[in-house]
């Protein structure tokens, strides 16, 4: 039985992939109705979306964000939908995307760029607010995983939730709330592949703690990948999906060994350095092939900035949520994030 499961899983993914491929032909004029689950990528004069496996470039306004219900018409050309026209757009119908957008707007009103874009990215993976030049520099320095929707975001949210809840509740009782919090975060931040991946994995790990079962993170990783591809086969062409899995796999495989190897490195930076170094092993080949980026200093840069991420998430979440109710108070809290954001941007700009 045990040996059959893995090939079977692979087969299932393959079948899903081939049967879920769209049925329309080149030149077809089609109409798509969809709810947007990922945020549109903003370019200076346009925005980019992927719906129903088709790449779509739309004018910059109206802005499309996660949660919008969209009806589009266009002509299929290969993987692209050409001459797209928005038939109707139903904006911000649900509460959580609305909360997300309000928090991002508030951060943008309180802090200057690029610091505000950086904070929105760290807190919610909101790449849309990043200055394009600054975003390129984060990619070149190898810290983009902090500012785009990535497993790093989820990992920090989970650590906070767990730390906070374990103070008040016994571990077993707290775990369902932690998992609930993870799902809530997913609804606020959007369903980008890396976030979903990290959410599934951390939920599984906590579940196994709660039920007292032994868990194997490597197996959970593969199951999460397969499960995600069965539900949404389009993710197979998503770079974020691959980066997320490659980095996690590499961390699982190499982190312990690197950590042991760095026994002489001061404890303050040993954790971040060994995580970063091991993740690099996984993502470097992918980044190099797809963007031509390779930065030998990337682990060092990560060590220089990663320590700011947990406090920034805390300040950002506190200030953002407070700001929705009492803007002045939220503003004061968010301003305390400025020194760390300043440091982060200076490091990226220095090395970028």
């Amino acid at each position: 039985m045990k040996h059959i499961i893995w090939p079977l899983l692979f087969l299932l993914v393959a079948v899903r992939y081939f049967t879920a491929r769209p049925v329309y032909q080149n030149g077809d004029r089609i109409r798509i109705s969809a709810t947007v689950y990922q945020n549109a990528v903003k370019y200076p004069s346009s925005q980019f979306l992927k719906i129903a496996g088709l790449e779509i470039y739309l004018p910059k306004y109206p802005e499309i964000s996660y949660g919008d219900k969209l009806v589009l018409e266009g002509t299929v050309e290969g993987r692209k939908l050409k001459k797209p026209q928005i038939v109707s757009i139903d904006k911000k119908t649900s509460l959580l995307p609305l909360v997300r957008n309000k928090i991002i707007d508030f951060i943008g009103e309180v802090l200057p760029q690029p610091e505000s874009g950086l904070l929105a990215g760290i807190l919610l993976g909101a790449k849309s607010q990043l200055d394009p030049d600054f975003y390129d520099k984060t990619k070149a320095t190898g810290v983009a995983h902090v500012v785009v929707a990535s497993g790093t975001n989820v990992t920090f949210v989970v650590s906070f939730l767990a730390a906070a809840l374990f103070l008040f509740l016994p571990r077993k009782k707290a775990i369902p709330f932690v998992i609930l919090g993870i799902i809530l975060y997913l609804f606020i931040a959007g369903f980008d592949a890396p976030l979903v991946r990290a959410a599934i994995m951390s939920s599984c790990l906590f579940l196994s703690q709660a039920t007292g079962r032994l868990s194997n993170p490597k197996r959970i990783l593969i199951l999460a990948a397969a499960g995600m591809l069965i539900i949404n086969p389009q993710w197979i062409a998503d770079l974020g999906f691959w980066l997320s899995f490659a980095s996690t796999a590499a961390i699982l495989l190499f982190r312990a060994r690197i950590h042991a190897f760095l026994s002489r490195v001061p404890a303050v930076i040993r954790e971040d350095l060994s995580t970063t170094l091991s993740a690099q092993i996984g993502v470097t080949p992918i980044l190099f092939v797809s963007f031509g980026y390779f930065n030998i200093l990337s682990p060092l840069i990560n060590v220089l900035v990663l320590w700011t991420v947990p406090p920034l998430m805390l300040i950002g979440a506190l200030g953002g949520v407070l700001g929705l109710a009492v803007p002045l108070l939220g503003k004061l809290v968010l301003l305390t994030a400025y020194p760390m954001l300043w440091w982060f941007t200076r490091v990226v700009e220095f090395f970028g």
């Binding site: 707007d105 690029p114 505000s116 394009p132 600054f134 020194p339 760390m340 300043w342």
Partner: protein, 290 residues
Amino acid sequence: MEERSWKTVFKAVALILSLLALAVFQVPDPSFHIVACDVGQGDATLIIYKNSQILVDGGPDSKVLSCLGRHLPFWDREIELVVLTHPDSDHFAGLIEVFEKYKVDNYLYNPLSISKPEYKVLENLGGREGVKQIYPLKGRAVGVGLIRLDILSPSGDGTGTEKNQEAAQEIPDNATNDYSIVSLVSFGKFRMLLTGDMPPAVSDQIAASWNSGPVHYIKTPHHGSKHGMTQNLLKAVMPKLAVISVGKNMYGHPAHEILDMLNLNGIKYLRTDEKGDIEVVSDGEKYWIK
């Protein structure tokens, strides 16, 4: 107290101290600053004196926000005056972001109606409560702190009169340059000419009616296009420094005719596509390039 609480207190104090240090570091100096923002192909000129700012045009996208971030203290979220010279995308699109993220007190623009949907977004933002609209009239002067802005064009031939937005004059999208707001900005004895995308006809008009001596600084009209500055204008206003706000483009900006014209007249010029942000500082008498 336990060691852990001490650590937390220590971290909080360090955070507040670094915040104060950065704040002190960013307190504006008492000089007059002009920054030609590097916004790619487009215009965005930021004028700063102490805590007052004037932003003339916003470039084509959100890059202008980073320019504001680089040159304003981090706590200053208010821009005293925003000027839109004319409604072309490479001048107005970035202002949408500025209106969304900053508190704008005054908005000087020409009430023109064009067909671009993005411009409707800006019209709504510019008409928001709390924003005072100012319409350009030839001869009108606007003061922000010690900065004075004299409007030289449009000349009041039907546009730029006291109209509300509903009555905005409809013009074709390709005629916007003719309505560019041209202004003379002065701080003490320092003077600069801001020209938007004014065409040669307007350039000659301004040259013909010019009677106020040389200027220190000219924003080269229309990104250095040959459909912009004229020899007559240079002769009349005799600028010492010309700044060309330009990025990668397919129109051949800046035109070699214009660069030759500047060279022949012995005028030093700087380009944002080569230098990035171009910051000129003045104490009201002398000026220097930072």
